[in-house]
């Protein structure tokens, strides 16, 4: 890290936060600051840049420990509001996954299925403090004789509830169109035929991993905003892939880095964890995440000032190309500036765009996090190991 004109440490920034002297701005505000004053001056002035994202994130879920019943049961199968949770963890533990659909749902037998309720909704109901019907079945052992257990519970009755999401906050994601002749129902939303619309799902310039494209400050132990509470980066996310094509600014031009996140579900709020139903596809969970980027030097200041016009993604056909698997053929490259303008131009056609990621909520998260840090209620967590990047593997 030599050769930087500004150099700060986590400890120095945390000292300033504790004294209420840290200067914190959101990733949107940082753009203007660096443009106006340059990266060196910005790095001198600004200590932390806050980011945010709020989007449906499959690969989310929660570990729950429901304590022991009387008589005791080794819960082999577990349901919460008729949504099955994985019970093969331990006698009184289970994992409720965001995309599990309620039992008895007609799925896509009445196409397109509506998928009203699932794991994501159970998690939202839990954090909202709503009553959940817990049902468990066991096979009976000498130490755990009961075979059936049923009880109405709320999150307060659970001994432990830990949100643990194996893959969140994707650094960039596909823009989806449909080149076929019929409407299709996907995890990227409803896509009208003949490229009738283009859906995308990141908060662009506000998105955490776009503001630290080489993961120079994000790793295991980074403290984050997660679902309205303080959580942590637990590991690099599944499918984390730093080895993708990047622009001159280091920003990947397609799906790349991911993080696994962890936090206490009991501290979270339903404002930032919302169940989602995707017509014809299934259920998921909107997750709110914000990561503070420490401005350790002018290089970080430059990264954190990235703007939508300089972030690009690929457009793919979800009508034929995506479902068949294998290497995807990009139909074109578009910037988030274009995507957020309301339409893109592709193959001579103007296509209206729609986000699945809420920029409004992402902006709110960046402001909440900024507020926490300014008040001294949130200290930076120095990562114990950074996410693997193409730089670190060299």
């Amino acid at each position: 890290m030599s050769g930087h004109r500004v150099q700060k440490t986590y400890r120095e920034i945390n000292e300033k936060i504790k004294q209420g002297k840290a200067v914190v701005v959101t990733a949107e505000e940082m753009i203007d600051i660096v443009q106006r004053h340059g990266d060196v001056e910005a790095a001198k002035r600004i200590d932390v840049v806050t980011t945010g994202t709020f989007a449906p994130m499959c690969s989310s879920g929660a570990f729950l420990n429901f304590g022991h019943a009387s008589p005791r049961i080794k819960a082999m199968k577990v349901w919460l509001n008729d949504v099955q949770a994985y019970g093969g963890v331990a006698a009184a533990d289970c994992y409720i996954g965001a995309t599990e659909v309620a039992e008895g749902d007609p799925l896509n037998s009445v196409y397109p299925g509506e998928f009203h309720y699932g794991g994501g909704h159970v998690i939202e109901d839990l954090v909202a403090g709503n009553v959940i019907k817990l049902r468990a079945e066991g096979y009976g052992t000498d130490c755990y004789p009961a075979r059936k257990f049923e009880k109405n519970i709320t999150i307060r009755d659970l001994r432990d509830a830990v949100l643990f999401n194996p893959r969140n906050a994707y650094q960039n994601y596909n823009c989806a169109v449909n080149m076929s002749d019929k409407t299709i129902y996907t995890y990227m939303g409803v896509l009208r035929p003949r490229m009738g619309n283009a859906n995308y799902s990141t908060s662009g310039q506000l998105s955490p991993l776009f503001n630290d494209p080489y993961y120079k400050t994000i790793g295991i132990g980074t403290r984050i905003f997660l679902g309205g509470a303080q959580g942590y980066v637990a590991w690099q996310g599944t499918q984390h892939n730093p080895h993708v094509g990047r622009g001159e600014n280091g920003v990947p031009r397609g799906g790349a880095g991911t993080i696994a996140t962890i936090g206490d579900l009991k501290e979270m709020t339903p404002e930032w964890l919302v169940g989602a139903s995707f017509l014809g596809y299934g259920v998921s969970l909107y997750v709110g995440i914000g990561i503070p980027i420490p401005v350790l030097n002018e290089e970080m200041a430059r990264y954190a000032a990235v703007k939508d016009e300089d972030i690009f993604t690929q457009v793919y056909d979800y009508g034929m190309d995506y479902p068949k698997g294998g290497e995807l053929k990009s139909l074109g490259e578009v910037s988030y500036g274009e995507l957020r303008s309301g339409s893109i131009r592709l193959h001579g056609k103007v296509i209206p765009t729609a986000p699945l990621s809420s920029y409004y909520k992402a902006r709110q998260i960046a402001h909440v996090l900024k507020n926490w840090i300014e008040k001294g209620a949130f200290l930076l967590g120095e990562p114990q190991k950074l996410l693997s990047s193409e730089l670190s593997s060299e």
Partner: protein, 136 residues
Amino acid sequence: MYTKKIVIRYPADVVDQPIVYRLVKDFDLIFNILKARVFPRREGLLVLEVCGTKENFDRGVHFLKEKGLRVEPLSKSVKQNLEKCVHCGACIAFCPTGALHLDGDSMMVLFDAEKCNGCEICVSACPPRAMEVDLL
């Protein structure tokens, strides 16, 4: 000229009577049928865009109510539940009239009930199911 979208609900006993044509004949109103659910001996529903002078519009609506029909502005039957809406924008590509749109500054999803034609596509296209339409 005054233009308004209204929802007319017919009680089951008058659903077989010709009534709305009188809006044209007696009140000089133009209407465009946006949606209709009419079955014999069951409560019926019509969504109309009605155009005419304000005075004739009011007299026409009064006439319909006298005939025992319930008349409400469309905006009463289609609502964006702001408690549930997360302002993602998944709905905006489907809204055929632009009633649902993203505000460029606030990045909030706004709903303009006057533009809505009651097609109901948004109801199931919305992942948090924030659009509430009562057109049964």
